[in-house]
């Protein structure tokens, strides 16, 4: 089933030049989608469109086959409940003056989801391997990796169908990065991920399908295995060639 789709979408800020042009893509339930692009590729704008934070200049963004409509409160509430996000910077993405409990509970409260909030927060903390007493503490008491876990707990607390992850491990150390990737992998069994990153290796680790963005256009999309085995577009080939590798074992 198609969760989110962009069809014929173009976008420009004000009267500026096109940031995105003729974008067609679909996020299918159960199949993680990776969006790879470098600075200036338009991936941040695409993220905002997918999250309903910006409106397309032309074309349509649809959720479960229906067009996103900011005026339709009930529909938007369902959309917000189903589509959550995790961001790059674990420092800027948590309110420093809120306790972890309130941070994680925010979607439940704002979306007026009728559930036992305390139990849901506790379960979310368990899902991201944080101790239950973390709920009483403030973000500054945690390291970068732990903060990213808190942000993931907030994203999953309302049991969404889709999580959009924007460069979620770029700010983390290698060993922490690996643990967060393992966590996202285990969560993939319950929900679908859209992984936005400049790092094609990260996307390849997590996603079955891949979209390569260059200067606001999709230059290549398809199954990750196929693209890695036979990259059709020169830009994709350049990305793969530029990614530094470990030396052969001696």
């Amino acid at each position: 089933m198609t969760l989110l789709a962009l069809s014929g979408v173009s976008f420009s800020y004000g009267r500026g030049s096109r940031v995105l042009q003729d974008i067609d893509l679909a996020v299918e339930a159960g199949s993680n989608l990776g969006i790879v692009g470098e600075s200036g590729s338009g991936k941040t704008t695409m993220l905002k469109l997918l999250l309903g934070l910006e409106r397309a200049s032309s074309g349509a963004v649809s959720f479960r086959g229906e067009r996103l409509d900011a005026a339709n409160r009930g529909f938007m509430r369902g959309f917000r409940r189903s589509v959550q996000a995790v961001f790059q910077d674990p420092y800027s993405s948590l309110d420093p003056r809120q306790r972890v409990f309130d941070i994680i509970a925010e979607p439940l409260r704002s979306l007026k989801i009728e559930t036992d909030i305390a139990a849901a927060v506790e379960q979310a903390l368990r899902d991201v391997d944080l101790p239950a007493d973390a709920a009483r503490r403030y973000p500054h008491e945690f390291s970068g990796g732990q903060r990213q876990r808190i942000a993931i707990a907030r994203a999953i607390v309302a049991n969404p169908d889709l999580i959009i992850a924007d460069e979620v491990v770029s700010a983390l150390d290698l060993t922490t990065r690996t643990r967060i990737i393992d966590l996202l992998r285990s969560l993939s069994a319950r929900m679908t991920f859209v992984v936005v990153s400049h790092d094609i290796a990260l996307v390849a680790l997590l996603c079955e399908r891949l979209v390569v963005l260059e200067k606001g256009r999709i230059v290549e999309q398809g199954a990750t295995r196929d693209i890695l085995a036979r990259p059709a577009h020169p830009y994709t080939r350049q990305l793969l060639a530029s990614t530094p590798r470990m030396p052969e074992r001696v």
């Binding site: 470098e38 600075s39 970068g144 150390d173 290698l174 060993t175 922490t176 990065r177 690996t178 400049h198 790092d199 094609i200 290796a201 990260l202 390849a204 680790l205 295995r225 890695l228 085995a229 990259p231 080939r237 350049q238 990305l239 793969l240 060639a241 530029s242 990614t243 530094p244 590798r245 470990m246 030396p247 052969e248 074992r249 001696v250």
Partner: protein
Amino acid sequence: MSTLLSVEDLQIRTAARPLVSGISFSIAAGERVGLIGESGSGKSLTALAVLGLLPDTMRVTGSITLDGHPVIGARDRDLVPLRGRSVAAVFQEPMTALDPLMRIGDQVAEVVRRRALRDGTKPGRAEIASRVLALLERVALPEPARIARAFPHEISGGQRQRGAIAMALACRPKLLIADEPTTALDVTTQAEILKLLETVVRDEGMGLLFISHDLPVVATVAERALVMRHGALIEEGPVGTLFGRPSHPYTEGLVAAARAFDAALEFAP
């Protein structure tokens, strides 16, 4: 090969706690060495110690000898010529290394002039301008004449980093310290900058201390690497051996994580 940099039993601490505890290593002239560590490992502090740029609030003991001159305990007045002649540095964010209100060409010219004064010559305006252009060409900046007139914010991140490298080259140092110089850059730009660094260092016969958390990146530019963790040096060796048969469990973990990323791309040509 003669020893260019020798660090012995370097300790850095604040009043509250030790930050770097007793590390020793050396770099031979023309050698390219990687310094690997995660955040808080003390790798950047080590680099600052070599440059004699640690804040006064930190206590430093041990010995650092750079190009025959002691760094620890030296007066700042004696370190200034050492920094210009023996060692230069390139940092992660070129925007903060460059003066935002000065044209790229003027910034490079300033270094060229200072270096010439130190050598006892006083080149004319035209002479300096031509050396600046040559340096900008050397770091493969497109249209060097135009870039020389540009301000830092008018060019891309990759071009700024090339400008910073040109400034470092203008010193004609014997050792170049590069602290995460490509971390803020795109993958494709990173590949170009790494290639550039490797060529200029090799051509000029400079030593390189390349600091990074990224193993494959270190493998691209360095011959030998050191691994730091919690302020201590835990393992060192030639890149091939270190990444092929790591002996410390921490290094093993890092190598395994890095190989997992490589494995994800194994379908690639």
